[in-house]
């Protein structure tokens, strides 16, 4: 798969202070999550890719286009939903989105048509003629999404799209993002400090900390790997024999305290077979868990590693 975003020693500084430090990565997922604590550089990375900040050194490519030499072409492919409230309060929703679509290059009639469509799509069809200043917070977030997709971008930047939303509004926003992702017409970059948002919407994640890449992983691969990783709690005659029997089946095993066993299943081995072996060895399997190396684990591990690296320095 062609990379969506390539970072090549990207270095961004504000007034001499390094904000993004020599970032190098190739992001290929359909939905890429940008994770990191506040001040990690997520929004700066998005703003740099949009051409708002000039890299101090290094370069980046978005859908194969260099952000230094082709910023206009890059922005032509992007839809951007910013983190903060961004609209013109006195304008009606549909007029605002139409203007934004026209600025993206759509002819006036098509822009109007797509502004209406986008408003219906994000669930604001009934309020599209109301001034944006009268919208609730959730409606404003949806209106921001509408302006980001109205011109049919190839890549969508969503900066904290669920900020300040109540649970139903958040669920609706996540559902919209998932729908857009699943249609497969565009790629999306979701920047958030909420792990759950990223976990629900993204298949790849880039974790930033203090302007460095703390981790870059494919969530889909992680999920597949997690499916083979089990934790058992067993009771019975001899755990040692049970472990030997499991190893004969090709499992990698490790014995923990209080009858706990960790194991990695080989490809093709069904879990049913574990119960058969346990029965043969007169062992009871009291509990069987798929060990879930959740995004939270990945994130915390990345944070620890980053701190250890910094401490080492």
């Amino acid at each position: 798969m062609d990379p969506i975003i390539e970072l090549d020693s990207l270095d961004v500084r504000f007034g001499g202070r390094p904000i993004l430090k020599q970032l190098t990565a190739s992001l290929t997922g359909r939905a890429i999550g940008l994770l990191g604590p506040n001040g990690a550089g997520k929004s700066t990375l998005i703003n740099t890719l949009l051409g708002f900040h000039r890299p101090f050194a290094g370069s980046a490519r978005v859908l194969g286009l260099d952000i230094r030499t082709q910023p206009r072409a890059v922005r032509g492919l992007i839809g951007y939903m910013p983190e903060n409230d961004a609209f013109i309060a006195s304008m009606t929703g549909v007029r605002f989105v139409r203007m934004m679509a026209e600025l993206a290059g759509l002819p006036s009639e098509q822009a109007l048509e797509r502004a209406h469509e986008a408003f219906f799509y994000v669930g604001l069809g009934e309020v599209r003629y109301r001034p944006l200043g009268t919208y609730s917070l959730g409606m404003k977030q949806s209106a921001k999404l509408a302006q980001a997709i109205a011109h049919g971008p190839k890549l969508l930047f969503l900066d904290e799209p669920t900020n300040g939303l109540d649970p139903p509004a958040r669920a609706r926003m996540i559902q919209l993002i998932q729908e857009i992702r699943d249609r497969g017409d565009l790629h999306l970059i979701l920047s958030s400090h909420l792990l759950r948002d990223v976990e629900e919407c993204c298949d790849q994640v880039l974790i930033l900390k203090d302007g460095n890449i703390a981790a870059h992983c494919d969530l889909e691969q992680e999920r597949r790997a997690n499916r083979r990783f089990l934790e058992l709690e067993v009771r019975g005659a001899s755990n040692g024999c049970f472990l030997e029997a499991l190893e004969k089946l090709g499992c990698e095993t490790a014995q923990g305290a209080q009858g706990r066993v960790k194991l990695v299943l080989p490809e093709g081995l069904e879990i049913r077979r574990l119960y058969e072996v346990a029965a043969e060895q007169q062992i009871q399997i009291r509990r069987l868990n798929h060990k879930r190396d959740s995004l939270e684990d990945i994130f915390l591990k990345a944070m620890e590693n980053s701190e250890a690296r910094n401490g080492g320095l």
């Binding site: 504000f14 007034g15 202070r17 929004s43 703003n47 949009l50 051409g51 708002f52 900040h53 206009r72 072409a73 922005r75 032509g76 992007i78 951007y80 910013p82 903060n84 409230d85 961004a86 609209f87 013109i88 309060a89 006195s90 007029r95 203007m99 934004m100 026209e102 600025l103 993206a104 290059g105 759509l106 002819p107 098509q110 797509r114 209406h116 469509e117 219906f120 799509y121 069809g125 302006q147 997709i149 011109h151 049919g152 190839k154 930047f157 729908e179 857009i180 249609r183 017409d185 565009l186």
Partner: protein, 300 residues
Amino acid sequence: MAVYKKTYRPYEGPLTAAWSRFLVIRRYAFEDLRRSRFLTVFYLATFLYPLIAALILWVEHNTSALKLLNLENTSRLIAVDAGYYMTLLGWQSMLALFLAAFIGPGQISPDLSNNALSLYLARPFSRSEYVLGKLSVLLTLLSWMTWVPGLLLFALQTYLEGWDWAVAHARIVAAVFFGAWVWILLIALLSLALSAWVKWKPAAGALLFGIFFVAAGFGGAINAVQDTKWGYLLNVSNLVGSVWVQLFEGDNPTSNGAVFFRVAPGSVIPVWVCWTVLLLLCAACLYMLSRKIRGAEVVR
């Protein structure tokens, strides 16, 4: 696709020319301005003076009208020369300042206070195009009330007086056009720069007047205290007046400028200095705009 399908779809249709995108900003700004009844009435009122000036030209060349007014023995009703056009430009330019103070502050400040710049500039649309779009709103409106009526009156006078008159007064065409542009470009840039830096519209409008009147008063005070003429450098209308006199009458002026743009006798500042100060003022406005018109504000 109908809206009831409520689904996302990519756009594959035609795109407008990249150079024309700034016109979108202009069109939407005009739509907003049209909603103000006060502005519409004021703008229409600014055409009264040119209409009266046109009427005078027509009366002067119409013997029946002169007879009706018992003026058939008068050699000339008014002298249609550089002074006539400079006076017209002076009145219209003063009205242009009021218009710029009224509409200029509302151009950029709403976008800044609503954080909308990140949305404008996240599109294939540059900062210069944004400023050009906003500037073109003011320049179009101000052009229609300054150099356009000036040139139309010149054309009318040429039609009534004959080609020889036009040839003899050809300098006026360039003077009206460039003289008006010096003024409208300056006040458009100033009002946009203030709009970008002062978010409260009435304050930005007041500040624009302050630059012209308070600074002029301050300059006058400097002249009086220091017994110098260089205080006039703070008097923008004085600077513009000097430039106009040169444009209309060359190096041998017979007048000292137009209404509101008079150059005080004995205190003429070299024209090149006036040009330099005006250019510096424009450059300062562009710098102020470049500092504020950004997709993302950098907190250092």
